[in-house]
Amino acid sequence: MKKNWKKDDLIVRSLADNYLPIAIVLGFYVILHGNISPGGGFQGGVLAASGVLLLYLGYGFRGIASALNMERMHKLEAIGALAYVFFGLLGIFAGYNFCRNILFDSGSIGDLWSSGTIALMNYAVGFKVLTGVGFLLLLIIALLATEPGHEHDGTITTTEQEALERGDSE
C-alpha cells in the first residue's frame, strides 16, 4: 500500500451513513424485545456495538475520535454491571433470595413489559455488552491507528478537506 494513499471513499461513506441507523435500531430492538422474541442482551449489545465499526469504515479514525469518548464508555460498562447486580439484589430488598423474580406478575404475558426482573436484567446486560464491546472495538481501532506510518497517525492527510486545511498540495 502506498503511504500517500488518501482515504476519501464516497461509496463506503454513503453506505455507512445508510447502514449505521439500521444497525443501531436493530440492536436496540433485539435488546428491548429480549424477553418476548429470539435474542437478548448479549446479542443485541454486540449488534448495536457494530455501529462503531461502521463509523470507522465511513469516517476513519478522526471521525470516531471526535464522536465517541473511550473513558466514558468504560465507565458506563461498569454502571451496566452494577445495574445487573442491583436488579439481582431486588430480591433481597424484598425479603427473598438473590436473583428472585419479585416483579414476575407485573404485566401480561407477551407484552413488552412482562416477566419483571428478567426484562430489567436483560436491559442491564444489553447496555453493558453494548458499551463493553464498543470500548473493545475502540481499543483495537486506536491500536491500529497509532501505528507509525498508518494513514491516521497524523502525518498523512486522509480527506481532501484536511489536505486543504493543512495546505498540502498533491
Binding site: P38, A81, G88, G91, R100, F104, I109
Partner: protein, 118 residues
C-alpha cells in the same frame, strides 16, 4: 468518615440479609428447589428417569412446562439465562468486564498516544 460510611452500608446489607432469611418461606413461586426429586437416585441410575410420566421430576420439565406461570417470559432461553441461571449470567458479564480491563492494561502504552480521543 469513609470507614463510617462503609460500616453503615455493611450494616444495612446485613439487616437486609437477616430480613431475607426470616421471610424466605413465602408464596412467590420459586423456580426450582429440587422438591420431589431424589437427586441421588437420579445420579446413580440416570436410566430411571421417567419420561412417560405426565409430571416427571427434574429441573428440565419445570423449565419446559411451568416456565410461563413462573416467569411470564415468552422467550424460554431468556428465562433460563436471567432467572434460572442468574448467577451464570452475572459471572459471564463480569468475565467480559475483566477481559476488557485486561486488554486495556496490556494496550495502555499504545492508548496513551491517542490522548483520550483527541
Amino acid at each position: 468518615m469513609k470507614k463510617l460510611i462503609l460500616a453503615l452500608s455493611l450494616i444495612v446489607i446485613l439487616c437486609f440479609g437477616v430480613y431475607s432469611v426470616v421471610y424466605m418461606q413465602q408464596e412467590i413461586p420459586i423456580t426450582y428447589d429440587g422438591r420431589g426429586t431424589d437427586v441421588y437416585e437420579l445420579q446413580q441410575n440416570p436410566g430411571d428417569y421417567d419420561v412417560s410420566d405426565p409430571e416427571p421430576d427434574g429441573v428440565a420439565s419445570i423449565i419446559v412446562k411451568e416456565n410461563l406461570e413462573k416467569t411470564q417470559a415468552v422467550n424460554n432461553v431468556t428465562a433460563i439465562v436471567f432467572d434460572f441461571r442468574g448467577y451464570d449470567t452475572l459471572g459471564e458479564s463480569f468475565i467480559l468486564l475483566i477481559a476488557i480491563t485486561g486488554a486495556t492494561v496490556i494496550l495502555r502504552r499504545r492508548r496513551d498516544r491517542w490522548e483520550g480521543g483527541k
